[in-house]
Amino acid sequence: MDKLLQLDQGKSGWSVDRSIEFDERSYLSADQNSPSASDSKVWLFTLSQWQLARHKLDLTGIHCGLLLDADADLSDIAEDLPRFGVVVIDFPHFNDGRGFSLGAQLREHYQFRGEMRAAGYLLVDQLNYLLRCGFDSFSFRNNVDPETAVSALSDFSDSYQPSVAV
């Protein structure tokens, strides 16, 4: 599995991590054991996995995350959203801007307050916009220079329109 560049916002500013492998935040799949509460990992569910798992598994004390495709329909799981500490929105390609709106809706309509991560093939030049759509962490599948990425977060110091970013 590829190493990712991950940007997270800490108290002292943005931190860059290159050591993370994608399965750190493990997927839950049918052949895996049930997650246990002692596990400190975040169990990342796809939408369909979640729809199956939420009734079958005992998820008390489990750190749950949700992995969304760009075309995900949130209306079915609106009530479950507070259960997730993190929602990861997949960007299959930087030209595919659906995730911008999905993220904005997640914050705006569903008041999601957890971590919202943009993951996939992204240009650093999109970071400032992503931030303003409510994303607060980023994983790049492609090769990017960490310094360029961090500085691109603040390409703009002002904006014409208010946005959902909290």
Partner: protein, 557 residues
Amino acid sequence: MYIYDQRDHTLLGERVDQFKRQTKRFLSGELTEEEFLPLRLQNGLYVQRLAPMLRIAVPYGMLSSLQVRKLAHITRHYDKGYCHVTTRQNIQLNWPRLEDVPEILEELASVSMHAIQTSGNCIRNVTSDAFAGVADDEVADPRPYCELVRQWSTLHPEFAFLPRKFKIAINGTQQDRVAMKFHDIGLQIVDHEQQGLGFEVYVGGGMGRTPVIGQQVRDFLPQQYLLSYLCAIVRTYNRLGRRDNKYKARIKILVKAMGVEKFRTLVEEEWLKIKDSYALLSTDDVEKARSYFTEPKSIKDAASQSESVKPQTSNEDMEVLNPAFSQWLTRNVRAHRNPTYAAVTLSLKPTGVAPGDITADQLDILADLAERYSQGELRTTHEQNVVLADVSRDQLFSLWIEARGAGFATPNIETLTDIVCCPGGDFCALANAKSLPIAESIQKTFDDMDYVYDLGELSLNISGCMNACAHHHVSDIGILGVDKKGEEFYQVMLGGDDGRRKAAIGKVLGPASAREAIPRVVQRILDVFLEHRIANESFAEVYQRIGLSYFKERVYG
């Protein structure tokens, strides 16, 4: 006109810096061609057939003399000494060097101009009527709303990677003069008896390879919801528009596929959630925008004094003395809301010049004329001409003399030779055929101005390919360049209407013709028109009455 504030300047400066860094990363190989593409497009930079092309935004067509002088300087120093006015009121440079572009953008920024979002899959420059604020059939001045939309859509974080480009037009007059129903979103300003100013909202119109007339999604939207409603439409499109096929990616395809009813339901659902959020416009917001477009004081004062001031020589005297001036008054000068003023269209269509092209020296003269005759402002039109909107009537004669000297006084506005034409195969990488030589051959063939005047109002538009940049589907006579086994041919269509009378898409007359045959084809079409014309009917009226068949017979019979 709108004056940049600190925020505009900050953002523009930061955008220029950002693009400098992006260009550097591209030139050093850090960004691939594919990755750089949307970044340069959203800064107006295309790669054309022969050189890059830079499209400069002219928000709803308004320019100050200062800006026009800067454009003159830029075309002189970074280009070949001329530029081109597009059918969306923007300005194109045809020969800038990629390495120079950041510097050009910096020059533009110094006069509050830019090339942001003039191409790419994002919300483009908002267009409007070149006679905004002076037209006598105006419901309300569209420019304050255009400015609000400009600010809202510029560097919008959510809508920079849409399925495809997105164009908005706002019409403020009773007659549709912005081809509103041929835009992704068209807004018609209405004054509602109880609810005050607001909009009829149309979506899904467009030209290109699948021309579609936009459909109404809302019959009245109070003005305070302008931005939230736009947001709801664009968001719905961004989430659901097709991305698998670029020819099916425009919003018109989405609206057609799901039907306007379903689309409306989705938009309204989304809108209800956000209508009272931060996107709500306050009365202050609207009033502030309006304050930039109030009638200049000198014009207001002139209105009250008009009784007492009489020019020494009236235009009537001059008309008798000079029939050429009289022609110009008829064709190129139109009424101003204030009767002592007039709006003047300067023609960029003399025979032999590519329609919409303008040289650096002419730009300087334009700046000068605007300063001396029209409050230091001018407007580009979507028919690729220039308007001086506030000219005192007693100065018309001296303006005419000067405009004539500079080549701007061809009295052909809204006639056959006022051809709308895209750059076509001479410049554009997408072209199937050249368009400029066609325009020239038609202008040369029909050089008898009396004949041209007799034809009355007539629009003839020429596009070099299906992308239809010259809007050939919506003109009385439309000409489209097509490629037939590697050879350039031209398809002719008749009966289009951009909405001035009633929005309609032109019908193809028959098989495409060779370039040399086009003036003859046009001649035959005009013959049929004149033969069937009753009294002073326009071409459009005759076509409406007799249909396509007579024309077909004559051209192909």
